[in-house]
């Protein structure tokens, strides 16, 4: 499946973007991220326009990056403000500047046509920046295409087999799911409600529940990047009150940002926000270590699967069963979004070609000879 352009992607946690240079490759585009002296995150193409030296391996001076090879200097808008040994700065001396937005402790970048970037489109994960929740988080690089992680997260029955002893119990795979595709919201929802389940160590040790539990898993996937798992556990028989309050429940908001890096590599951002044991550092450490272990189990499995999938002959068949209902919906939505973005890009390119041809009077001229490229 191709990348889905013209979308917001999580590039980093807010805490990762500071007064040093951070390299990330998103949808095949190398980026360098940093924070200006005013505190605003910035994202530039990570290649000096001169000899393509990585700006992420250069120096941050004030709000500018000074290329570590020959000193080309770029502002946060990507414009070159200084070159070595001469006063004239070539008009085309600039690197791409990406639209950036910071929300819910996440730094999002827009990959695609910058004119279409609307921060209002960014889905929310408010628990990550809410004092009423305690959050642990991390990021694991994945040597696998992002679609494998989407498949993984949309079908949690794998918890029973891959994550036994941490978050998996027999009831997860045994419990039927309900799947919804909300076309207007652009969301896939998968719900699994377990009325009487064993309590896995992840929840037993963090909540103190010793017996069987009610366990609800309500997934919201906002393709392409944001995945939310609303997890509720409570002692068996304890349900929310009719008025919607839920003093007997323990709520965990599990957030994943699925960011494609290259065709066969991805960033697996993960966070676990809870509304209990807020000041308990021991619980925080336990949940961090447990969830990281679970994520690394996924990483190991998906890295293996990537090698298998990459070696598959063309046209090889898969088999889908009931547990895949949500994953199939997600694939379809991603494919449609990719096709729409590609169509929009083709339309823009066509329009630009028409305009450039009329304006420059050089239809068919090699790009290197076009006025804008001199």
């Amino acid at each position: 499946m191709p990348f889905v352009r013209n979308q917001w992607y999580v590039a980093a946690y807010s805490a990762e973007v500071g007064r040093s240079l951070l390299a990330r490759t998103i949808l095949g585009e190398p980026l360098v991220l940093y924070r200006t002296t005013a505190g605003q995150p910035a994202a530039l193409a990570d290649r000096c326009v001169h000899r393509h030296f990585p700006l992420s391996e250069s120096q941050l001076q004030g709000d500018t990056i000074v290329c570590g090879y020959h000193g080309f200097t770029y502002g946060a808008d990507g414009r070159c403000v200084a070159v070595p040994g001469q006063r004239r700065i070539p008009r085309t001396a600039r690197v791409g500047a990406y639209p950036v937005a910071e929300q819910d402790s996440l730094v999002w970048v827009w990959i695609g046509d910058a004119g279409r970037a609307d921060p209002g489109l960014i889905p929310r994960a408010p628990w990550l920046a809410d004092d009423r929740y305690a959050t642990v988080r991390g990021m694991e690089p994945l040597a696998a295409r992002y679609e494998l992680l989407v498949d993984n997260l949309l079908d949690l029955s794998h918890e029973t087999y891959l994550h036994g002893g941490y978050i998996g119990t027999p009831e997860v795979a045994d419990t039927p799911i309900t799947t919804e595709v909300d076309e207007e919201a652009g969301v896939v929802r998968v719900s699994r409600r377990m009325d009487d389940a064993a309590c896995p160590p992840f929840y037993a040790q963090s909540t103190g529940i010793t017996g069987r539990i009610v366990r609800w898993q309500d997934i919201e996937y906002h393709p392409p990047c944001l995945y939310l798992l609303h997890s509720r556990v409570a002692p068996a028989g304890v349900l929310p009150r009719p008025d919607g309050t839920d003093p007997g429940g323990f709520h965990v908001e599990v957030v994943y940002a699925i960011t494609p890096s290259t065709a066969t590599a991805s960033y697996d951002f993960w966070a676990v926000a809870r509304d209990f044991a807020l000041g308990d550092e021991e619980v925080s450490a336990f949940l961090h270590d447990s969830n990281r272990t679970v994520v690394l189990q996924d990483v190991t499995a998906l890295n293996t699967l990537e090698r298998v999938v990459a070696a598959n002959p063309p046209g090889v068949q898969e088999l889908s069963i009931n547990i895949d209902t949500g994953g199939l919906a997600a694939r379809r939505m991603l494919a449609r979004m990719a096709a729409q973005a590609d169509a929009a890009q083709a339309g823009t390119a066509e329009a630009q070609a028409g305009t450039a041809g009329a304006g420059a009077g050089l239809p068919g001229a090699p790009a290197s000879l076009a006025p804008a490229a001199r």
């Binding site: 039927p176 595709v181 909300d182 076309e183 889908s320 069963i321 199939l328 694939r331 449609r336 990719a338």
Partner: protein, 89 residues
Amino acid sequence: MTARTVTGQRTVFRIEWLPGTDRLRGRCHCGAVAEAEDPVQMWQWLLAHPAHPASPAHPVSPAQTASPAQPGEPGEPGEPGEPGEPGPC
């Protein structure tokens, strides 16, 4: 994402896995309901809206589709990435 706008109701497709069985029940936002044992067939039936075939076991054909599907729209036979279409992922 382009939505199928239906005045007065949300365009939600829903598939329930019926407890105690292997069967799936699909419910379209238009009110149409069908059952199947294969999620691929169930999605194909749902996404054929408004021209739902009589049974999920008989996927919609182009001739049955009341309005032509747009490129990239669900319900278009052979659409890349359509639910159930085998692929690398």
